[in-house]
Amino acid sequence: MKHASGLVILLVLASGCARPTGRGLADDDASFKIPAIKSAVAAKDDKAIPQLVEDLESDDSAVRFYAIEGLRRLTGETFDYLFYDDEADRRGPVEKWKEWLSEQ
């Protein structure tokens, strides 16, 4: 009986602690993505880094602004990426970011 109740408690805790799926970092909608980026950076969440590197290629300049600022705060690097550069000029720094990511 003691063993069973312990198991129930564990199951309850496990389900309560499960991260709710929902809108956030991977969202296409900037109005959800940007607050999620800010939260991840505030929490110093390195797991956000791959998504932020992907966001450097976003068509939305605001997403790119928050992505590079997030990466700078989490890693200390920018690899000369400027969020307002046009796509051709962003290509080089984006490649550097991808290379850096593959080395982590």
Binding site: F65, E69, R72, Y84
Partner: protein, 143 residues
């Protein structure tokens, strides 16, 4: 040479627009981006420093006065360079109150930002354009 980034300034780089939230933590990043943009388009020091300072103060004023300190409101930043200078526009959806342009304060102990007269001195032109739902601040700095 490894580490050198070559940048050709093209027409498509002469303009950018982005959106921020009214969070003071974001001011430094946009200030540095605009300073880098100014530098890349031919503005030297101290112009770059003055442009950055005015942008900083203008955004701080929006946060403090247009949005009463709320940190989750939108601010749109639009920056254009032309051969003669640089234009910065800030759009907010706040209270829409034009700051009163007091006579230049002589008492440095009176708090409240740098003051509009100081900001106007550092830009070639600065004007507030009322919007039905907020304010547009237009600034220009000639080279």
């Amino acid at each position: 040479m490894e580490g050198m980034v070559e940048r050709t300034v093209t027409d498509s780089q002469a303009h950018f627009r982005t959106r921020l939230t009214s969070d003071p933590a974001e001011i430094a990043a946009i200030r540095k981006a605009v300073e880098a943009f100014a530098s890349a388009h031919g503005h030297g020091e101290p112009a770059v420093a003055e442009i950055g300072l005015v942008l900083n103060e203008a955004i701080a004023n929006i946060i403090r006065h247009a949005y009463d300190g709320r940190e989750d409101q939108p601010i749109e930043v639009d920056v254009k360079a032309d051969p003669r200078g640089m234009q910065i526009e800030l759009r907010d959806w706040g209270k829409g109150v034009v700051p009163v342009i007091k006579a230049e304060k002589t008492d440095p102990f009176v708090p409240g930002g740098l003051g509009l007269p100081c900001m106007k001195k550092m830009m070639t032109s600065l004007e507030f354009v009322r919007q039905p739902d907020g304010m547009l601040l237009k600034m220009y700095r000639a080279k």
